[in-house]
């Protein structure tokens, strides 16, 4: 009855006194009844497509993220539940703003074909899209502003006990006003006393060494590692470690950050995968040395070195990172809106030509929560 028609939605607001029964009526043959009009597909989230759309009435432009319900044996996906719950709690300039949730008409019968949409404020660009466009040039001051906002966002979510778990350039949105927003909380979750999370999170190229080695009791440092990768990418313009497999990723990390061994990271040998994966020996730490050709600023190199620290317990946190000299020495952080004003089209990774100068394959997506033959196994992974 309502397959392709846009979703209807709640007018928002408080407990709705349903004095007007007409609100409950469905107009199945009236395809224009949807509140939003899709304009273009702009991305592929962790659990569904993302569209640019417009509120038919207010003309407000939004991003609609589709939540697929097909074959969800466990009902509404817990990852989507988390994203909704987390985003309802987080209100910060540097975290994407969830406006509302829409769905096609709710009845007990249509669960198999329901489509949910999370409605977000629209951001014109994502960082991966910007970096893949050679015409977009960031000055040192502008890079500082981007990183400052990114770390501010992380500071905020971490102090609210939320882990993002999927840091990557494509999940960093930037509005045309130059405001950065952390987005895609599809893999995020709250820190709790239960400390056995799945380690199958974070897109491979941004995955920190502790996850690769099988740590299940991890914390905010996993997002900080991603922030380090993204910071380096501001200069290199493409992901700095494009591993093809987990083993390969670990090798790339060792080549950049030095061999993973108990001397530099006490306890790393106790991790589950330490003896199962090949951990390259005899590598020297060359973070600054190898990034120097791209990154001329000494303070930037110092901060990168601290963000890309192998031992998560010694990795800098967002608060200290924000205090580092990089942000306080000249040139000062500079607004990116002026630079972005020169570009009139939206830049999203999804729409950009692939940027893979090193010829690596597609980035391995984090494990998605898809229905599985074995329900309990599926559940284990969601943790």
């Amino acid at each position: 009855m309502h397959h392709s028609q846009p979703p209807t939605s709640h007018p928002g607001g408080g407990p709705i006194r349903q004095t007007n029964r007409h609100e409950d009526l469905d107009f199945p043959f009236c395809p224009d009844s949807g509140k939003y009009e899709k304009l273009a597909k702009i991305g592929q989230g962790t659990f569904g497509e993302v569209f640019k759309a417009r509120d038919r009435k207010t003309k407000q432009v939004v991003a609609m993220k589709k939540v697929l319900m097909e074959n969800e044996k466990e009902g509404f996906p817990i990852t989507a539940l988390r994203e909704i719950k987390i985003l309802q709690q987080l209100k910060h300039e540097n975290v994407v703003n969830l406006i509302e949730i829409c769905r096609t008409k709710a009845t007990p019968y249509n669960r198999y074909k329901s489509t949910f949409y999370l409605i977000f404020e629209f951001c014109e660009h994502d960082l991966a899209g910007l970096l893949s466009n050679a015409n977009v040039m960031f000055s040192l001051g502008e890079i500082k502003k981007v990183m400052q906002q990114l770390l501010n966002g992380l500071y905020y979510i971490h102090s609210n006990k939320i882990l993002h778990r999927d840091m990557k350039a494509a999940n960093i949105l930037i509005t045309k006003m130059g405001i950065l927003k952390l987005a895609d909380f599809g893999l995020a979750r709250a820190l709790s006393h239960i400390s056995k999370y799945t380690n199958r999170v974070v897109t491979l190229w941004y995955r920190p060494p502790e996850l690769l080695l099988g740590e299940r009791n991890y914390g905010p440092p996993i997002d900080i590692w991603g922030a380090g990768c993204i910071m380096a990418e501001m200069w290199t313009r493409s992901p700095i470690m494009q591993g093809k497999t987990e083993q390969h990723q670990l090798q790339l990390i060792s080549q950049l950050c030095g061999s993973i061994k108990p001397e530099v990271w006490p306890g790393c040998d106790k991790l589950e995968m330490y003896n199962k994966l090949e951990v390259p020996d005899g590598q020297k730490r060359k973070v600054k040395e190898r990034l120097k050709p791209y990154v001329k600023d000494q303070y930037a190199l110092d901060l990168l070195d601290k963000l890309l620290c192998l031992d998560p317990s010694k990795r800098i946190d967002s608060d200290s990172a924000l205090d580092s000299a990089f942000f306080w020495e000249d040139p000062p952080p500079q607004d990116v809106s002026r630079m972005l004003a020169q570009h009139s089209t939206s830049m999203f990774e999804y729409l950009a030509p692939p940027r893979r100068p090193q010829g690596a394959g597609r980035p391995q997506m984090p494990i998605q929560v898809r229905p599985n033959q074995n329900m309990d196994q599926h559940f284990e992974r969601v943790f």
């Binding site: 309802q88 599926h378 559940f379």
Partner: protein
Amino acid sequence: MFASGTQKNHWMFTGPEEIDLLRQEANERFVNEFGKNMDEDHRKAHFLLPEEEKLLMRHFEFILREFCKKFQPSMPKYVLRFYIHNSLMDFHPRDLMLTCVYLACKVEEFNVSIGQFVGNLKGDREKFANIILGFELLLMDKLHYHLTVHNPFRPLEGFLIDLKTRYFKNKAEDVERLRRNAEDFVDRSLATETCLLFSPSQIALAGIIHSAGEEGISLDNYVTGVLMQGTTNEEVKKMASQIKRIKYLVKNQPSLQRELIGPVQRKLEPCRNQANNPESEIYKRRLEEMFEEEEEERSRKRQKLMEEERAAERALIGIP
């Protein structure tokens, strides 16, 4: 986060009267729709009265609490919110209750699969799973996706810590003596509508004060001198009256008249909305229709694709 969250802005009401009114409105909406051709007497005999709904609601709420106690006491009470705007005749509390707990488990990261969940129930488990999954989306929708429910247990812990550090210094064991009765009070509050009327921290404070009273300890100086230090007299008075209202509500719950529940439950069966009854013919028919439509839609799409392909082929070989 309570201060900025959906609970304070959307699910707090001015008093029991407002809740009663909203429930009465939900009842009226249902009766007006399903009793269009009935006269007043017939309606009264056929449909549940608002007070009968309330009684049944309390009955199921009690069962729910007993059920939840088995695994997690501080589960969000979605069912209370749900039946503020919906009549029990529209959705049977038995169906919704299970759905509420299942959703709460997911939201609270109490990870159980649907298989494990219905495994804890007695009866036709496959049927239960279908009911739960069938109503889950509808429930979320009716809750307006407001899934975070703050409970008073956390602020209670906070008050205990605060008392230990700022008031009864070096007498931690005295403070611990307050715990049992305070927790018991909060637990009893969950059976009432207090959580729809007062903030979790107010309920927790009422619990602490109640418990201290039982122990013969006065916390007046703590409340006025430490907790509310620097606030106006006016505000202290307001707080005192809030606490009094909470204590009254929690302590003066009318007991459930069990003998009335059976007849009301029997009255519910013929007057409920059969379209939302998973056992009814009309429900099963609609479910089937849904699948058929899906199939039709799929074949329409296939048809369209084929036509497009054919058109492309024709264009390729130059046939207009």
